[in-house]
Symmetry: C2
Subunit: 208 residues, 2 copies
């Protein structure tokens, strides 16, 4: 804290304080970034701050899948060529981007906006689980549809998956989760035993 009081300028100190509130940015990095911004042309800095303000103030969430979107319905939900009988449930927008980047999925999504975590104080009502249940209920033919739970493999992810399963199982929709096992190219020798164990239990038919 003594170090903090040595800032040569109150304006600098306040900017460092604000920048270091970002996740993963310490005071030292914040100072480096603040001094970088001071040296940039004013219009560049204003463009930087404007684009952040615009994002915060104008961005919307898709009314169907709750992904960040510029319009009421996101591009994926609005795309008639995608398979509306598949709903992939993910924690965040980043997961949607990761799955889209694989090019292997052509269904729709449902963004929870987080994961159930008693420690972080996040309960089911903080997420879009109720909206998912309603969305599944509104399906024309639930038994011909599938909800893919693409959540992380830790306790919180498993808890959330189980909670969601209980909310939608009555609808008769098929519920699946991501395959877990060794990654492509992984060496058996270096795999952790939990993953290797699951890979053996969930072994698949060999299709040469």
């Amino acid at each position: 804290m003594a170090y903090k009081e040595k800032y040569p300028s109150e304006l600098l100190s306040q900017a460092v304080e604000a920048i270091s509130s970002l996740p993963g940015v310490g005071r030292r990095s914040a100072l480096r970034l603040a001094l970088h911004l001071v040296r940039q042309p004013a219009e560049n800095v204003h463009h930087f701050t404007d684009s952040i303000n615009r994002l915060r103030d104008q961005v919307r969430y898709c009314r169907c899948c709750h992904m960040l979107s510029d319009s009421e319905l996101c591009e994926i939900c609005a795309d008639r060529k995608r398979d509306a009988r598949l709903i992939c449930v993910v924690e965040s927008v980043r997961d949607v981007m990761s799955i889209e980047a694989t090019g292997q999925y052509h269904g729709l999504y449902h963004v929870l906006g987080g994961i159930i975590s008693p420690i972080a104080g996040v309960g089911p009502s903080d997420l879009t689980i109720r909206e998912l249940a309603e969305r599944v209920k509104a399906l024309e033919d639930p038994s011909g549809a599938e909800v893919i739970l693409a959540l992380s493999g830790d306790v919180e992810g498993e808890t959330t998956a189980f909670y969601i399963y209980r909310q939608i199982e009555a609808s008769g929709v098929k519920v699946s989760s991501l395959a877990r096992g060794l990654g492509f190219g992984d060496d058996l020798e270096y795999a952790d035993s939990l993953t290797l164990g699951r890979s053996i239990v969930n072994r698949q038919e060999f299709r040469p």
Copy 2:
């Protein structure tokens, strides 16, 4: 670039673009930060951007030492208790903060605002070297004063130090540079040979 086109929102894409223009922030980190900011209360985000805009628009440079300052003369230059016969020349504000944090220096500073680097296109006229020469010339008793060149030990630092020396040597001011050698607690075995060599050449009288 294909990945870039998958942003679900143009506003998000623009914010990520802006954030990733910061030094050391890649597109992946920028996306993480943008999604973090979207989830914060609007007033927090506005406070964040306002403090950056204020820093850029309102900060001033001390007319004497060119350090960032909220007033015309910085707190250090305005402090009558500091030794005005000592001028420590540094590259940036961060260096001033590092030296101040040692508590070992009670003179004044001169912030160059960079370092001579032909590769980066930074020449002597881009720095406050002329102002330093004028400041030294204006000293009441140059021969009783000292300019400490506290620049980095790489080629650019040495070049800049030499250039400054040539600009001010005629004034009769004493010019010194930082001691270089093994760090306190350093193990000889792990020291690089250049540093160890300099430590031997510049050995000091043993004062038990």
